[in-house]
Symmetry: D2
């Protein structure tokens, strides 16, 4: 349909009920709007600022929930991996393996993900230029796979803020299908309390600027109760606001497609 | 018509012929597309990197050309001022006084511009946050004028690059009508030769992201021969490419207006 | 004596009494430590964030106080200028004309300052690379003067912070004698209240890093009551702490000179 | 002796001969200057920009060379680890486990390193504030170890440059002994060829600024033939220049210790 696709879901898999509840709602909306949908959920949060932050409900348990979501709602799924051994393990349960931004320079991890034959979604490091993602994509290709995606999740701008460089979208689309991670791009890291802040009021601003520039996909963390989500609550989109947002974005994309 | 307005023209007024040639073409396009148009030209380039760069053809001569453009094509005009004494002087010839980004913190200059009764277009300093423009607008208001505009021309990102923070558009629109200066936002300053570089290939990317976020106006430097323009040639839009760009942007804005 | 020199004083000249009180104390300390001393005071604050901020006690009155300080304590003086007409005017009263960081790209201002025959102290814009100061120095030389100094006052690092790039010191010393403005380098601009913040606890850290790298001079704003200074109180050094600081720095410089 | 300590060596262990040759020279110099010395060498380069870059001679082989260096020259050693399983493995051979900057947010890795009982050297991410390192150190403490060090290796400054924020040294010294990684701080990443550049001409500038601010240790990559080193050649110190550099730094530190 020439529409953008969507990776969306909670930050972490907190349990089966919440995963189903979010998936059901997003499936309903994306079916209506003809947006190809991939359910997103982390089976483990490996890089929290503080050791006392929530890290997960158990790796296998969370991955099994991802698999159930896929079967129940007939959607592909994506999760992020952190060590080489995660690649083969997670590939049994999901369709897309995501390399976190901090880890995208770890060659072994990228190669291990590529060798599973799954799509590898490479997040641009906050410290990397769009142009540098060419080399990350090349590592997937050199591993014998042509299934690389790249995702922009913002770039460091001073210690406590991030910025999205929209010049990066046409640049990275030369290398691979390019996704804009709207919600993480609006994080405000390095806050003094050790809990990352955010600017969820700017979600539509950033999403529109991506869609109008032909980004291939969007990545949005969403929850029915962001304030009580166990991670990333500060920058998530409330699930109740997703339909209106996507409706606007589809209208914009249709205009763009007709130019 | 709820369309965006356009400030466009050459960087500097190099002579009457070139000013007329550019104005004629832009008027023709903007009439067709129903875009309110303000002709832009600097009467003096006061802040070139190098002393041997072109600075102008004579202040009064350039301002008279601006006035002739206004009369001949029935369009308002805008020029930038650099010292307090320029305010009253330039106000005799043009409709909008623009405060350059480097000078927007100079209170006397802002106040002098405001007191002429003309619209004051305040460019956000490359070193300023969108939020800090609230204080610049307040200086105009405190001078008894409600005619302030703000313009984003990008933000410093390392020594040799600029970036546009699109979160600034909804932020600054709370203070005043907000313009996106597309071409200066794509400058790459501090190049070793003392001549600013640019990324004109990204003009449509940046312009679209602004229009889709309801920016009130666009600022575009354009020339029929950018390579031989006497200033800012590295980031200008070729005049031949203006109509296609604006046509796309108007289509996007119409979609946005209907959301 | 191969020691560094010092530009120090209050931010703004608030009155004769405070100027004398500060000058007397600094003269006493610098005489003891054999540091060549130049008294610093702004006759006008032209670029405050907010229009309701203090801007001065009257231009001529403030300049006369600078002259009296010079005569009474037998020290040269420095003040900053903002418009071309200030150059000749201020040159009657002071020995060094300082070009503020926001204005260092204004060619007319730099040329006017150079033509007075006074030393021109060019502050590096927060948005400029050290290498770009070569062109600013060249503007002074091209105006027939060889009396240029450059001063680093920090570089923009995100919206609300500044950072000192110490690679800039050896770089700029190739162009002209180089001063490190310790106190302004520790400003934190764009704070939401419209009043610049600061990190005066880091004054000695930054000063030491400059002295150990052979910077030619230091610039320090100091006041006997920073909390009640009419500008820049947030980053000034308390006058009571100056002697200990300079004593440490002189010891470091002596070691460096002997390497 | 109240002197600073030194982590130095090649980037990667390329073989026994080169490791011995570098260790021998550094041991000779540091013995003379009474600098506690820890030999540094990576057993594996896991995060190269390009997949065709050198990654190592074999993990076990490289670790055995580190152990031989330790025995032959009676010095402790340090190497960096990239996955949880590396921690116990590498701890058999070396005295200090280093967490690379990109990986310092990976909780499992930090915890695994801490649990070996070895010193854990935490490199500040290029995307992290000095203050955020408090949480990284706390993860070591919460794992039952008090043996954490932190190392500054520069902070992202635009896409293609890094900068050292010297305010970070007194800040991080509140959390743990603090090391300045002089050579990596001078990297220039994201270069178009996929090979990181550097500014080795600035090594002494950065090192002096750290030593004068009481940094506890220095980290310097050095090689007898940087141009032919298999990694990081662009920013290494030539081994022939080490003695003069350290001699200067020791003189500065002695002055500081006496203040």
């Amino acid at each position: 349909s020439n529409n953008f696709f969507l990776l969306a879901g909670p930050c972490a898999i907190e349990g089966e009920e919440m995963a189903f509840r979010i998936a059901e709602k997003v499936v309903e909306i994306t079916n209506k709007l003809e947006i190809p949908y991939i359910f997103k959920g982390s089976f483990k949060k490996a890089n929290r600022s503080r050791i006392d932050s929530f890290t997960g409900i158990g790796d296998e348990k969370a991955l099994e929930i991802l698999q159930k979501v896929s079967e129940k709602f007939d959607v592909p799924t994506v999760t992020d991996i952190h060590e080489v051994s995660d690649a083969v393990f997670a590939a049994k349960y999901v369709d897309v393996l995501q390399i976190p931004a901090f880890l995208v320079r770890q060659t072994d991890l990228v190669v291990a993900a590529a060798k599973t034959g799954k799509v590898v979604n490479l997040k641009k490091g906050q410290f990397m230029s769009p142009e540098a993602m060419k080399h990350a994509v090349q590592k997937v290709k050199d591993s014998g796979s042509d299934k690389a995606w790249v995702t922009d999740r913002g770039t460091m701008f001073g210690y406590q803020d991030m910025i999205v460089d929209f010049r990066g979208i046409p640049t990275m689309r030369q290398y691979a299908p390019t996704i804009l991670d709207v919600t993480h791009s609006l994080q405000q890291p390095n806050q003094s309390a050790g809990v990352t802040g955010g600017r969820p009021d700017m979600i539509e601003t950033i999403a529109r600027a991506g869609i109008v520039n032909n980004v291939d996909g969007l990545f949005i963390e969403t929850h029915f109760d962001p304030a009580n989500a166990k991670s990333d609550g500060a920058n998530m989109l409330h699930l109740d606001n997703l339909e209106k947002l996507l409706t606007n974005l589809v209208a914009i994309r249709k205009t763009i497609n007709a130019l």
